[in-house]
Every structure is written in structure tokens, then in C-alpha cells.
């Protein structure tokens, strides 16, 4: 096991982590501000990926595809918020889970209806394809490096938005006391639609970016959604900082576990058995991590103390 491999895997883990962060940030904001569990967040990820694939197929421009992904997901988010989600803010969690589960069914099958069951492909733009040589002689795909860059940039942008702008003040105030800021003259339902659309746009962006390294297909959102839930539960629901730390933890655990656990098991098992039990344990790894965090801190790393 060389150090080059280790660094490569750490970069892969980071790349996975920052993409999870894009998903988890929206999810945790929506929960923090509106108190809503949105299972349909994965569908918005899928909408972004499909919009990007369709636009890239028609125009050939990756940049336009990203813009389309952001716009389509934000629009879908805003519409869903105004038609359905708005009625659920005061509903019990069970109703929220169910209604957004219903939305998943509608989005997934609707997309299958329009685009068919076959996966679409979204190509990596020429400018970002191919490997790049990092210091130390490590060859690493430029596109994945770009993903890490974009993810970190979004994280910084989101931090600035929340900490440094008027909208951010309203979002933070909305988390603390929604009656009060409504009383102070903030149009709360507009704020909610805006936050939901923002979360949706981030999910759509993640879908389009990841769509270029995986295939774009119906149902692509749900596995990521569940990982994003694990992320926000580890980080503490409602905390964007927690989502960032949680996303990196989950990304690294998942990637590194998949590579190193089988190797570790080979030290005291024969090869075949080690491969099997190692990879079995690795795919369970993040859930074990989540379990441990919750036992230690039942409201997550950065969650409000109950």
C-alpha cells in the first residue's frame, strides 16, 4: 500500500464528501428553518442531473448544462414548496415523511415517463477531462479536483450568505423564532420558498456535477438522499457547519473503508474471506459511525442540546 494510493483515496473521499455536503446543506437548512423533513430532496438532485443531461445533449455546453440544472431544480423546488410543502410545516413528522415519500414516487415515475428507463450520459467537459499531476507525482483526474474546488467554494459562499447578508440574518432569525421575525415584517412564506429553492438548487447542482462521473438515471437520488440524512444526523440537524463536517466524515469513511478494511482483514484472514467481510463491513461503516455518534451525542455533533 503506497502513499500515492492513500492520498488518491483521501482525495476521492473529499470529493465524495463535498458533493454530499451540497445535498446535506439544503436538507439541513430546510429542516433548521422550516422544521421539515424533506425526503424528496433526492428527487431534486435527480431533476438537476436530468436537466443538465438534456441541455448538454442539445447544446453541447457543460456550463449551460450546469445553469439549467440549477434553474430546473430551483424551479421544481419552488413549485413543490408552494403547492405541497407549505401545507406541511405544522403537520406531524409522520405526515411530512409520507407526503414527501409520495413526491418521490411522482418525481421518479414522472421522470421515467418523460425520459424512459435507460440511463442518460453526461460527458465531462473537454477542458476538465484527463488527469493532472499533483506535487509528489500523483496523477489525479482534473474533473474530480474541480468538484472538490466547487464544493469548497459553495461551502464558503453559503457561509458568507448566512453570516454576512441580510437574507442570512433572516434565515438565522427564522431558525430561532419564526413568529418574531414574521411580526417584524419579514414575509415569512416568501423566505421559506426562497430557502427551499436555494436548497433545491444546491441539490440540483450536485446531481449535475456527479452525473458526469456516474450515469444519470431514475432513482439516482435516493441512495444519496439517505447518505445526506446520515450526514445531517451526524452533524446535528439544522447546523450547516455540522453538515460540512459530517459530509467530510461520511465521504472519507465510506471511501477509505472500502479500500482499507479488506486490506486490514487480509492481515489475519485468507484473501477471499477478507475481501468479502471487509467490503461488507465497509458498506455498513457509515451507519456504524452514525450509530456511534448518536450514542455519544443523541442530537449530533453540532445539534442543539435537547
Amino acid at each position: 500500500m503506497s502513499s500515492i494510493l492513500i492520498i488518491e483515496q483521501i482525495l476521492n473521499g473529499l470529493q465524495f464528501g463535498v458533493m454530499l455536503f451540497l445535498m446535506a446543506a439544503g436538507l439541513t437548512l430546510i429542516f433548521g428553518v422550516m422544521g421539515l423533513i424533506n425526503l424528496a430532496h433526492g428527487s431534486l438532485y435527480m431533476v438537476g442531473a436530468f436537466a443538465a443531461a438534456a441541455v448538454a445533449g442539445a447544446t453541447g455546453s457543460f456550463l449551460l448544462a450546469l445553469v439549467a440544472a440549477l434553474a430546473a431544480a430551483a424551479l421544481a423546488g419552488a413549485i413543490v414548496e408552494m403547492v405541497v410543502i407549505r401545507r406541511l410545516y405544522n403537520a406531524p413528522h409522520l405526515d411530512q415523511v409520507l407526503a414527501t415519500f409520495a413526491l418521490i414516487l411522482i418525481f421518479s415515475e414522472g421522470t421515467r415517463w418523460v425520459f424512459g428507463s435507460f440511463p442518460l450520459f453526461l460527458d465531462i467537459p473537454d477542458a476538465l477531462s484527463g488527469p493532472v499531476t499533483l506535487p509528489g507525482g500523483i496523477e489525479y483526474p482534473l474533473y474530480r479536483l474541480a468538484l472538490i474546488g466547487i464544493g469548497l467554494a459553495v461551502a464558503v459562499g453559503l457561509w458568507a450568505l448566512i453570516e454576512r447578508t441580510r437574507l442570512g440574518i433572516q434565515i438565522r432569525a427564522g431558525e430561532n423564532d419564526r413568529e418574531m421575525i414574521a411580526a417584524l415584517g419579514v414575509d415569512i412564506s416568501k423566505l421559506y420558498t426562497l430557502v427551499f429553492a436555494l436548497g433545491a438548487a444546491l441539490a440540483g447542482l450536485a446531481g449535475a456535477l456527479v452525473g458526469a462521473i456516474q450515469s444519470v438515471q431514475v432513482g439516482m437520488g435516493e441512495p444519496v438522499l439517505i447518505l445526506a440524512f446520515v450526514v445531517i444526523v451526524i452533524g446535528g440537524i439544522g447546523s450547516v457547519r455540522g453538515a460540512f463536517i459530517g459530509a467530510l466524515l461520511v465521504g472519507l469513511t465510506d471511501t477509505l473503508g472500502g479500500v482499507f478494511l479488506p486490506e486490514l482483514f487480509k492481515l489475519f484472514m485468507d484473501n477471499g474471506a477478507a475481501q468479502k467481510s471487509g467490503s461488507a463491513l465497509a458498506s455498513m461503516g457509515i451507519y456504524v459511525l452514525m450509530g456511534l455518534v448518536l450514542i455519544w451525542r443523541p442530537t449530533g455533533l453540532f445539534g442543539a442540546r435537547a
Binding site: A91, L94, V97, A99, I104, R112, I226, V233, T299
Partner: protein, 328 residues
Amino acid sequence: MRLNEKYLNAAMIAGLLALPLWAVMADQPFTITLVTRAVILALAAVGLNIILGIGGMVSFGHAVFFGIGGYAMGILAYHAQTYTALDLGLLTTGGTKSMPVIWLVAMILSGLVAFFIGLLSLRTSGVYFIMITLAFGQMFFYFAISWAQYGGEDGLSIYVRNDFPGLNTLAPIQFYAICFTLLCVVLFLFARFQASPFGLALNAARQTPTRVETVGLNPMRLKLLAFVLSGAITGLAGALFADLNRFVSPTMFSWQLSGELIVLIIIGGVGRLMGPVIGACVFVALEHFLGELTDFWHVYLGVVLLCIVLFGRGGLIGLLTGKEGAHV
């Protein structure tokens, strides 16, 4: 029109008796299979209804127990059909094809797992509880996928349905009779449970945990015991479901299935004795008839669900009897 819930329940049971009997006369074995499927899903959902309806715990990972029941059946029958030994460390068995033994194993195993999952996840509540149960479901799902010895992602096929003394289980109506009888037994127990001191205390723990504590009861212990009961019943349903399909695969652990079990209860009515039964029948009927009309029937299911959540509090039973469902 307001129906009395008792008459509605009796009509439901009568329907579940009459429809398969008619299907036997009309020589429609597929209808029997459909009704069997509905009855087994109903059984699984009755299990979930204990903690969801009475206890107010939204478990989004009940597929775990369904899957454990399925795999208990799959593994035992697999060893019996291939004449290989199942080495459990302390004892070695050749597997079994006997349904009662399989049911017992399925219930004990899922009850045990429910105990440990409950012990950990009941420390949390609300959204965290939903999420942690979901995560446990995924853990088992991925474990089943990577468990190459028992088929991994492809699952396990069992060629002949397991045996029940005195019955020919391969005849659809006889297998249906087994499932229906089990459902009736469990429904009877559910009704007794709901009215028992334990059931009442659990109901109270959902509504006002603090008061339950002040009268000297331990809500955590109540909930844990209910969780174990609930898991064992869903596990039994899982074993039957695997026997119905003669196939187990990791999809029995999937989170969609956990979601569907919740959906069944909501369609019928949360915390109602027959809620899961009505829900399962409607669900299977929708799946079948809409599925015939269009490949995209999930869109319509989604719309129906949305309408139930947004407008129809209390599910179908609530709609028919004019009573609201339990608040979770």
C-alpha cells in the same frame, strides 16, 4: 353516512374469506396469490402499527425485521434443499423445511434484533428516531447485498414451498388459509393488547410521557417491549412473504419497503385495528389494477397518498366512520 367501525371490520374479514373462496370456484389462482400478498403485507403492517399507531414511534426501518424473517426462511430452507450443514458455532443443523420451526426462528431473531435496535434508537426521538431506524435498515440492506454466501444482490431461490403438517402448501388456497389464520390470530392479539394495561400505558406514553413517568411507569421500557413485539410480528410476515414468492433478496430490506409499510397504515388509518388490513388490500389492488393500466402507476399512487395526507386525516377508516386517526 357514518359506518360503525365494528361492522366495517367484520365486513373486511368476511371479504377476505369470501374472495379467495370465490377464486377457488372460479379457478383463478392468481387472485388468491394477490389476496395472500395483501394479507401478508397487512400482517407486517399490523406489527408496525403497534409502535406507530399505539406507541407513536415512526420507525422508518421496519423492513429490517421483514428482511430478517425472509432470510431466516431463505437460509434454513436453502440448507435443507441443498443438504448442506448450517454451522452456527454451538450447533450444526441441516436446515429445515418446516414452517412452524421457521416462523419461530424468524420471530425470535427479529425480536432479538429489534431489542438491540430499540435499545439504541429509543434513546432518540422525533426526526432522529426516524433517521436512525432508516440507517439501521440501510445497514442490513448493504449487509445482505454483500453476503455472497446467500446470493448477495441476486437473492436466494427456494424451489419448493416449505411444509406445514397436514396441508399441501403448494395449493394456493391452503397457503392462503395459513396466512389468513395467522393474520386473524395477530389481529385478535392486537385488539387484546390495545385494551390491556400495557397497551393503555403505551398509548399514554405516546400522548404524555411525563405523566406516565410520574405514575411510576418507565416509558422507555414500555416502548422497548412494544418495539420487540412489533419486530417479531413483522419478522413472521417476512418469513411468509419469502415463502409466498419462494425467493428472498436484499429488496426485502430496502427502505422503500419500510416506507410502503408506513403507507399501508396511513391509507387504512393509524392506530386502527383493521387499518393495516384495509390499507394493504387497497395498496395491492391499486398496484395490480393501476399496474395493468400503466407502467407508471407509482405516479398515481403518489397523488393518492398526497391527497390522503393533505386532506384525509384518519385514513379510509376515518373517512368511513367519521373518526380521526391517532395523532402521531
